[in-house]
Amino acid sequence: MAGLLPLCPPRRCYISMKTKSQCLVKVSGLSKSYGRRRVLNQLEFEVECGSGFVIRGSNGSGKTTFLETLSTISRPDEGSIVVCGVSLKEDSAFVRSKIGLVAHSSYLYPQLTVKENLVFFSRLNQVPPQALDENILLSQMGLDTRLNQRVSTLSHGFQKRVSIVRSMLHCPKVLLLDEPETGLDEETLSVLKGLIKAFLSDGGSVILTTHLEKLDYGSKMENLFLKNGKLMPLS
């Protein structure tokens, strides 16, 4: 399973000299409102190396907002986010380089081909485009035969697969997945679960959201529930 990501160097965990903990992500006092509606309310959250979280919650509970805030798409109203020891306010580019996001939208250019999209995002992430030729994730996701196909001609499921590859191009330390099961068939979902397992074994961290109660991402993933803007254990 570790062979899914052959080009990524072993992830070294950031060890805080003060706390001696292996903390990849630390969220403190995170709040976000849309108008009068407070979606995230003084949220506290820590993610260590090799740990994974499944965040469950009903529609409108703030799962997507939480991931968008972590990934720097959305700016929080209050609070701090620290990734690999660097605060978002201090160096947002560094934080973005450590995070990979798979969201509802594919974040791709539909008029470009799969390969052109991946080459583009590789360059922006300062990854040599030649690395794509050795990226076995492309074949795992069934994309090696579709590289010259325009993204607009792909089904939603295949666009999601391309989005997953895009999010992993720069070997992130933290993988954020917003309802990744949407649009994926059983086979690809199985590959994704394997990918998550390999990612965790490699020292990375995974935070994913889902609204499906019965979907199981494995024993290594801790289940949390987002309600009233706060995270709590599922029990």
Binding site: T72, L108, P110, Q111, L112, N125, H170
Partner: protein
């Protein structure tokens, strides 16, 4: 340059931006040609204004369309998720806008020369055009990015863009009028200097503002 490369690829596939600007600008010139009696005296006065108004409004159309392509499927957000510096992103978009507008002008100006029987000093006109298109690209890219996430982007873009670009447009029109009429170069150097100053101001202010605009 990666951003500009992507924009060139998108334009080759979609052909939306250049076509939109070119068709609009050509139509404007034809309409003005019909509306004004193109005697040698009126042409020197009217043609510069026609050219830069056509390019400015065509630019609004083209830039709005270019950013609409960015937002479709979230490619714009995908780019913002990368570690790329915001001003690098901005200048990539400016380069592609500049090239598209220059391409349109390469077609437009010969049409005007034929329609209005103009005699243009090429080298000086290239300098004036480059400065003017740079101003349009800088300001247009900033306001297109501002308007991108609003519902009324087609209205908001010209409302924001035109008041800010007017000084540069005026300077461009004056320069072009001097070139078309063959007046003294002393006045020309003053107006080129003014245009260069506006470009310098836009070059400093617009990337900074773009960084503020794209962060939520």
């Amino acid at each position: 340059m990666t951003i500009a490369w992507k924009d060139f690829l998108l334009e080759i596939r979609s052909k939306e931006v250049v076509l939109a600007v070119l068709v609009f600008s050509l139509l404007s010139i034809v309409v003005f040609n019909i509306a004004f009696d193109p005697t040698p005296r009126t042409v020197a006065m009217v043609a510069p204004g026609i050219l830069w108004v056509a390019l400015a409004f065509g630019g609004i159309l083209g830039l709005s369309r270019a950013f609409a392509l960015e937002v479709e499927n979230g490619g714009f957000t995908g780019t913002l998720l990368t570690p790329i510096a915001r001003d690098a992103f901005f200048f990539g978009k400016v380069i592609s806008s500049f090239v598209f507008m220059a391409f349109v002008e390469l077609i437009l100006v010969p049409v005007m020369v034929i329609l209005f029987d103009l005699n243009i000093p090429v080298f000086l006109f290239i300098i004036v055009s480059a400065l003017a298109l740079l101003a349009v690209s800088l300001v247009g890219t900033l306001f297109a990015a501002m308007a991108i996430n609003t519902r009324a982007r087609e209205i908001l873009m010209p409302v924001l863009f035109l008041p800010v670009i007017i000084p540069a447009l005026l300077a461009s029109v004056e320069c072009t009028e001097i070139l078309f009429s063959g007046q003294s170069s002393i006045n020309l150097s003053k107006w080129i200097g003014l245009l260069a100053v506006f470009d310098a101001v836009y070059l400093i202010v617009t990337p900074f503002c773009f960084g503020l605009v794209v962060s939520d």
